[in-house]
Amino acid sequence: MSHESQAVVNDISKDELVENRPSSLKRWMRLLWRSKTGTVGLIIVVIALLVAIFAPLIAPYQPQEINPVNMLKPPFWMENGSMENILGTDNLGRDIFSRILYGSQISILVGVMSVVVAGFIGVTVGLVSGYFGGIIDNILMRLVDSFLAIPTILFALVILAIFDSGVFTLIIVLGVTNWVNYARLVRGEVLTLKERDYVKAAHSIGVSNFKIIVRHLLPNVISSFIVISTLSVATTIILEASLSFLGLGVQPPTVSWGSILSDGRDYLSTSWWLATFPGIAITITVLGIIFLGDWLRDVLDPRTQK
């Protein structure tokens, strides 16, 4: 009956090669091209990275170079502005443009790396907690609750006050204070995923817990993780700014977008450009990362492939 016709189909295809699927790279490029926001995001992120890497080559001045004659000069298109300091200078006569270029190094590094640290801890805790449940889940989730109860800034202040404040400490502190969000998100996802039949099926086959987590659960929680993590790159850059403002982030003469922003705060009413340009830099970069993250989520889902 029906399986006979199937058998015929099989006979025909016996010698046929396995059909060619587009390679991953090609598929990625095509999906990238099709998604306008993805393309924009990628371009922004690439530019931001290039700027960070080549800041010393592009910047016309050293970021900490003080020029008392040129204090608080406005951007070039305004009265008194000149092409020598295209985005103006701050209260010590430092070139804003150069400072933003150099600042991108620290901001992007801290923003991205602390999300990586937070994501690593959070996703691991979430997977373990959600999958094993029971006592393990209870202990881990109470730990998460206690972390949620501690104000992030306060916690960061304490840690940074104890340890040397440097870029590395900053990354660890921001990572350790932010992992709880990922842990809760991932745990929630895992709770629904582990009831799916394919997880049960893997169980009945005898696949080990570790492999079930890595092969069946992790790939299916990655997309929501990416969405949240790209958003939190933004908050982390801001958080780094607040810590720098409190004097516990990166220490002068190192610059970050956050520190430029907070330096300019006092002059907001008279010289708006001090704080506005680093703010714009943060906004654009964050937007780029979010766009890229959205696209990445689509790419990682095989169902969007056509």
Partner: protein, 338 residues
């Protein structure tokens, strides 16, 4: 058919704790499976039927080692699965495989067909790349999937094709027992017969042993050698397919039999036993015989005393104080030789 018993299930029970409230004063349980006894012989197909909520899937999941029984024994090839250590059990899992109801949720959407079928092989067999590929191709041929589709993702297939992938996964390890948990009920009617035919073909060709769970008799009738009818966590009747369709002993089975649609209107002369009422809550099963609340023949004894599940005649097991079709009992007693 060999008479060797592959699987023996003794007094299998699963009670789910559904105690509500924080202080847990009154413990309450759902008696999902409440004492199952049956065996499965090598090379046979045992069908399990019953309406939704009767515990048939729970029983399947317990035998497939996805749920831990509250009580009872599951003896597989003389070994009680519940006494095995974790690592022994993991090895044993290669011998007992499952086919799931919903082919849309039983395949990981992020794995390609090759990876899906290779997963059981990777877990239990040490094969090199070429052997693995050959085996996967062999399985795809066997279940009637085009080899060319090896690199596709599950969402690119229809329900029937997905179920074929599920079947290929289940047979890849040459298991001794396959538990089919309503493998066709999620499929289109037109596809159901294809998948049933495939299962029958594979069972014969590979000499497989199936436990085939379904909620209606037609599918089970087609594939099974023996049929167990479950009601509210218990088996009410167990016998060979032929004997069951000859006439039922238990009134519930009778009801199921007459619920099977008859395509030819001319033949619809037989009086129908329609079971009335709803299945009682398994949280609070009735006293005595589970079925007495809906049984048209219930007497006082049924309300107070639980009937034994016993052999009423050669090869016919039932749990009923007043079995129907008693003429069959006598007739069968004379035909002892079968």
């Amino acid at each position: 058919m060999q008479d060797e018993k592959l699987l023996v299930v003794n007094n299998l029970k699963k009670h789910f704790d559904v105690t509500k409230g924080f202080f847990k004063k009154d413990k309450s349980y759902v008696y999902a499976v409440d004492g199952l006894n049956f065996d499965v012989k090598k090379g046979e197909v045992l069908g399990i039927v019953g309406e939704s909520g009767c515990g048939k899937s729970t029983a399947g999941n317990m035998i497939g080692q996805l749920l831990e029984p509250t009580e009872g024994e599951i003896i597989f090839e003389g070994e009680d699965l519940l006494n095995l250590s974790r690592s022994e059990l993991r090895k044993r899992r290669a011998d007992i495989q499952m086919i799931f109801q919903d082919p849309f949720s039983s395949l990981n959407p992020r794995m390609r067909v090759f990876e899906l079928i290779a997963e059981p092989l990777r877990t239990h067999r040490k094969l090199n790349k070429k052997e693995l590929r050959n085996r996967v191709e062999e399985m795809m041929d066997l279940v009637g999937l085009n080899r060319a589709y090896m690199n596709r993702f599950p969402h690119e297939f229809s329900g029937g094709q997905r179920q074929r992938i599920g079947i290929a996964r289940a047979i890849a390890l040459n298991p001794k027992l396959i538990i089919c948990d309503e493998p066709v009920s999620a499929l289109d009617v037109s596809i159901q017969s294809q998948i049933l035919n495939l299962l029958v073909k594979l069972q014969k060709e590979l000499d497989l042993t199936f436990i085939f769970i379904a909620h209606g008799l037609p599918a089970v009738k087609y594939i099974s050698d023996r049929i167990a009818v479950m009601y509210l966590g218990k088996i009410v009747e167990l016998t060979t397919k032929e004997k069951l369709f000859e006439g039922a002993l238990h009134p519930y089975t009778e009801g199921l039999l007459s619920a099977v649609p008859i395509p030819d209107p001319e033949e619809r002369t037989k009086e129908r036993h329609i079971i009335e009422g709803d299945i009682p809550s398994p949280e609070n099963p009735p006293n005595g015989c589970n079925f007495h609340t809906r049984c048209p023949f219930a007497q006082d004894i049924c309300r107070n005393e639980e009937p034994e599940f016993e052999e009423k005649a050669n090869g016919r097991f039932a749990a009923c104080h007043f079995p129907l079709n008693t003429h069959l009992l006598e007739k069968n007693e004379t035909v002892q030789s079968t």
